[in-house]
């Protein structure tokens, strides 16, 4: 594996630019996924059947469609219909809304993990349905939900690589890696460093999950 360090030093600008773009993609998608996911999760956990169904439609749609197909629909299909989104917006929208479906389901199961006693006690104390959810149930649900959300975040970081390789042509870590690999004919060496970059991000997510778990755990 000659040139392992040379490939990094000679192309550091490109690697770091790609890494930073991947960070931006991940942060924005994460924000969308958490915001929308919590909202849909709330719909799915609400007592009203109508709200449940709306949430279910969202989840079924985004869970059953491959991310790449979603990208084609949003970036290509909409553009042909007249709505031209920038690659970054289309990419983060797709990744965020897609991950949100999984976030919603995690939150829903987290809410149901909270004992029914909590709901009953809150309602009998005079909290409304909405207040119960927001002030009593969700805070407890979040504790259960941190590890699966951590997994989803890691999956999302890896899925961000799909954005770079696709029609979107976003210059993220993977795309810049492919360009470097081709221009220098050093394939293994380049993808080694690309993998390191993704590992840094997933590693950070893992550490964040552990820290949060420690802080929120109920002492038994």
């Amino acid at each position: 594996m000659g040139d392992l360090f040379a490939i990094l030093t000679r192309n550091f600008d490109s690697f770091s630019a790609g890494f930073l773009t991947t960070c931006r993609l991940v942060f924005v998608s994460f924000a969308i996924a958490m915001a929308v996911g919590t909202l849909i999760g709330g719909l799915r956990a609400a007592p009203s059947k109508a709200l449940n169904r709306i949430g279910a439609i969202y989840v079924e749609f985004f869970r059953n469609i491959p991310l790449l197909v979603l990208i084609y629909i949003v970036y290509d299909g909409l553009a042909r219909g007249g709505l031209r989104l920038s690659a970054f917006v289309a990419g983060t929208l797709c990744l965020g809304l897609y991950t949100a479906a999984y976030v919603a389901e995690s939150i829903r199961s987290g809410v149901f993990a909270v004992g029914k006693g909590q709901f009953d006690a809150a309602l009998s104390l005079g909290f409304t349905q909405g207040e119960t959810l927001r002030k009593i149930v969700l805070p407890q649900a979040i504790r259960t939900v941190i590890p699966p959300l951590g997994n989803l975040t890691i999956a999302m970081i890896k899925n961000s690589a799909i954005l770079g390789g696709s029609l979107l042509a976003i210059n993220d870590l993977l795309l810049n890696g492919r360009l470097i690999a081709n221009n220098n004919a050093r394939y293994v060496q380049t993808f080694f460093w690309a993998a390191v970059g993704y590992l840094i991000l997933t590693g950070a997510a893992t550490i964040a999950v552990r820290v949060l778990e420690k802080r929120l755990v109920i002492k038994r």
């Binding site: 040139d3 031209r84 795309l175």
Partner: protein, 312 residues
């Protein structure tokens, strides 16, 4: 009766034997599916033992990497499911001279060199420009075709040349020479690199990019594919000269010599011209340069060593 445990061992052994049998038995059935049509007009030589050509003949087929989405060089005909084009016909001619059947696999700009290096393919005929950087990794025979870089835009576009690309989005393929060409000649352009030229066509049709830049013949193929629904046009002067080479595994001088000989035969016996007329002549205006006058060294000079260029 054998105990429970022994039955399982016996079953496992039978399974292994069956799998080995299937793996070994397969070889005889597949070779020589359909003899060569039209009889053997080409006399193919007996190759020296141990030479690259002899190894290919032993395999019974030559695996050729071509594009599957780039008319008129290599593209899958949707009706027949067969791949066809200029590169494909040149590949068939080389296979005839080897005396084996050609097997075509898809090789995009991004993976064609790795395919050659790991043995997935024996030959690359994939609209590949000869560059010194690539010559360090693989061997080139040829050139077998001279293309020129151009710019493709929608018919109603204001872009008239390379200068107008400032601030515009331009699409090309990962692993093609145009990434660096465009960086040099249009540094203010916003470059979008995608996996395949078919993606570039999608992007220019839906308006997400303003232009596509690559070899004129590939662009012409896109104009044909786009047809009346999305009229496109070529603009500007020739950006570059792109001599296409036949990609061969590194350091196989015997194969390089052989293929160069085959190419010369194709120039001499008119095959090259008829393949050209069928696939390219009708679509491209004017006469591009004939590859016969272009030597490998001429081609290498056009794209000199840039980054990691081991002079092995």
């Amino acid at each position: 009766m054998l105990g429970n445990k022994n039955w399982r061992v016996l079953l496992a052994l039978l399974a292994v034997v069956a799998m080995l049998g299937a793996a070994c038995g397969g070889d005889d059935a597949d070779t020589d599916a359909g003899g060569s049509e039209g009889g053997d007009e080409i006399e193919h030589e007996e190759f020296e033992e141990g030479s690259t050509m002899a190894k290919i003949v032993e395999k019974g087929e030559v695996t050729i990497g071509v594009k599957f989405d780039v008319p008129p060089f290599g593209f899958e005909n949707p009706q027949s499911g067969e791949v066809e084009g200029f590169d494909v016909d040149m590949g068939k001619y080389i296979a005839e001279h080897l005396g084996v059947e050609p097997k075509f696999v898809e090789a995009i700009s991004d993976n064609r060199i790795p395919f050659l290096q790991d043995g997935t393919v024996d030959i690359i005929l994939s609209t590949m420009t000869i560059t010194t950087d690539r010559e360090a990794e693989i061997d080139f025979a040829g050139p077998y075709f001279i293309a020129n870089g151009r710019i493709l835009v929608p018919e109603d576009s204001d872009i008239a040349g390379i200068e107008d690309l400032t601030g515009k989005k331009v699409c090309t393929a990962i692993g093609s020479t145009y990434e660096s060409t465009l960086k040099e000649q249009a540094p203010e352009a916003d470059l979008k690199t995608v996996e395949a030229y078919s993606d570039c066509l999608t992007l220019i049709q839906n308006g997400q990019v303003d232009a596509v830049s690559t070899d004129n013949v590939i662009l012409t193929g896109m104009i044909i594919q786009s047809g009346e629904d999305f009229p496109l046009k070529l603009v500007g002067d020739n950006l570059t000269t792109e001599p296409y080479g036949v990609g061969l595994p590194n350091k196989t001088d015997d194969m390089r010599e052989f293929v160069n000989g085959v190419l010369q035969d194709s120039f001499d016996d008119g095959t090259w011209q008829s393949i050209y007329d069928e696939w390219v002549g009708q679509f491209v205006e004017g006469e591009p340069e004939h590859p016969e006058d272009f030597t490998l060294d001429d081609a290498l000079k056009l794209f000199p060593c840039s980054e990691f260029c081991d002079k092995k």
